[in-house]
Symmetry: C2
Subunit: 345 residues, 2 copies
């Protein structure tokens, strides 16, 4: 018997992007998909519920000149990214129809996932399901491994988080408070700065766009210097931070969103501080740390359920709004974790 | 009885230096010194034998605007630096007249050392005494701690050393060979490049001044990338290296000699590789690691005595040649470890 075919709306990358991505770099198409995994495939067929907009996706829009840590998108094909999905059919032993999962899916209504082994089955649904695109998904694990595994925090240390109201930053700040640190965040609007203080419990927060001299701003908030800088931004911010680090400081280097749309990245001039202050600047990618996911859930789920950790989402409704939601994160338009609702169940 | 007073020739820093230091930034003076430690001082009075010219001394010539990891020199006073000295008089329990020591002394014939606790007593004199300014002194410990403690080498890894014929670099290359690594060095002349291959056993070496495209040069020598970059240089070299690092590479960051005479350091543009390749870039200062000195001597002394490790020195004769020797290291004029003989005993 032939499988039922349905129409499948998709977001397509038209061509590789140079500079700032625009909505017009993407287009919609509608194809047909059978809601069944083919006989010879051990994958899963999913209905996509929530799609995640993440900064690393910008790198995937660039023409691949050298191998990077994530593959480039293929022009003419649907964009892919993290999402929460419902399994409609499975030939993979780990999953069955009806399961909720998160992992790397397509920007479309339905996806055939051929490498289902990288998906996580969602066991705990006593929290908003969309959280698995954020605090309970890749961004959450990024904050956790960057702060704890790379940052090696100690009680009483001084922590600075840039892009602090974003998907990762808001959680880093709260983890730092849980670890007994003093934490300051920066963001790009008054509203975001308010959120950092009122909602996420940052000790201090400032709007970097209102500071003429970032170095002086950081000196104001960290008169004795910074122990841990959770780096999301790069460029001028990193330069200002380097001048304000303490001896033996750590810089878990998560991303450099200020640089992603530039063809040549800004020069960083103050790296000699790495020597003189014995700084450890260490890049990390969450992929390498997913074995810690169960340990992380054990820590964070009770904190969420007891209301001790908050998570703010910026929700775009409908796949048709996905391109503008994605573009928005590079302009800082999102307040909190940007995601797209494709369907609620 | 009054102590014997002798004349004491000294090298004085005239004023803080901007840009490239010149011989004329220093001048000679002759004062008088009593060859006895004053009653109320628990120091040592030493005769200086060998003085060390080290890149970090450039930083001490700059007007201090913010606290740095080493104090600035005081204009009008003798320059200080590492040296090998003979104790003439001591009121410090660790030392007695006749002892040979190394530590931070003055650029002069005789010095009164008031903080003698930071000096090391030389126990093994079965090697050239001048080695205690180099392979058996601060540069040796710098190579050792940077390569082993910060670099975490594994057998078979690919190691790149810049400024490779210098006081630290020549030893890093040999330590890397002892550790079973593939090692390539760069230096700034044909003579130095020859030395790297013929004397120090580097697998490959190149003259960075003859390479139009440093990134391509490194790709030639490291087609699969670099695991450990021992960073002595900074600037453009670091940018080229970042493009050629392997995933999970380490950059023990020892110094950035290409930058020390610049008023604004060159911008480094390729730092995003720190994220995408999960690089650990870690600064270190040998001061923090001197507790490992006995362990290091245990490793290196037999290697030297068995002729398995070589050390090349560039020796300036006489205190009167000290300023030009020091200036020379910033222009790369030295071949091997630059030192000054003040007296041989």
């Amino acid at each position: 018997m032939a499988a039922q075919e349905v129409s499948n709306k998709q977001v397509i990358l038209k061509d590789y992007v140079v500079g700032s991505p625009k909505e017009s770099d993407m287009e919609f198409t509608t194809s047909k998909i059978a809601l069944k995994v083919p006989e010879d495939c051990d994958g899963i067929l999913v209905k996509n519920l929530y799609l995640s907009c993440d900064p690393f996706m910008r790198g995937r829009m660039t023409k691949p000149e050298r191998a990077s840590y994530v593959e480039a998108f293929t022009p003419g094909k649907p964009i892919t990214g993290y999402g929460v999905s419902k399994v409609l059919d499975s030939q993979h032993p780990n999953f069955k129809a009806g399961d909720l999962v998160w992992g790397m899916t397509g920007w479309e209504e339905y996806s055939l996932i051929t490498s289902a082994q990288s998906f996580f089955k969602i066991e705990d649904t006593d929290v908003p399901l969309s959280y698995y695109t954020g605090i309970l998904g890749m961004p959450g694990m990024t904050a956790y491994t960057g702060f704890y595994e790379i940052g090696s925090p100690k009680r009483g240390e001084c922590v600075y988080v840039s892009a602090a109201s974003g998907a990762v930053g808001q959680l880093v700040g709260q983890l730092a408070k849980l670890a007994g640190c003093y934490v300051v965040g920066s963001a790009g609007s008054k509203e975001k700065v308010e959120l950092l203080k009122s909602k996420f419990g940052f000790d201090e927060a400032f709007n970097y766009k209102e500071e003429e001299d970032l170095e002086a701003a950081l000196r104001r908030y960290f008169p004795d210097g910074i122990d841990i800088y959770f780096e999301n931004v790069g460029g001028k911010m990193l330069d200002a931070v380097l001048m304000n680090m303490k001896d033996h400081g750590r810089i878990p280097t998560c991303g450099m969103i200020s640089q992603y749309n530039l063809q040549q990245h800004d020069g960083v001039h103050n790296l000699f501080n790495v020597v003189s202050k014995r700084i450890r600047m260490q890049g990390f990618i969450v992929f390498d740390h997913y074995h810690l996911y169960p340990k992380y859930l054990e820590l964070i789920l009770p904190q969420i359920k007891e209301g001790k950790v908050s998570y703010v989402e910026d929700v775009a409704e409908g796949l048709e709004n996905a391109p503008s939601a994605l573009i928005g994160i590079f302009a800082g338009r999102n307040v909190g974790k940007q995601l797209v609702v494709v369907a609620r169940e």
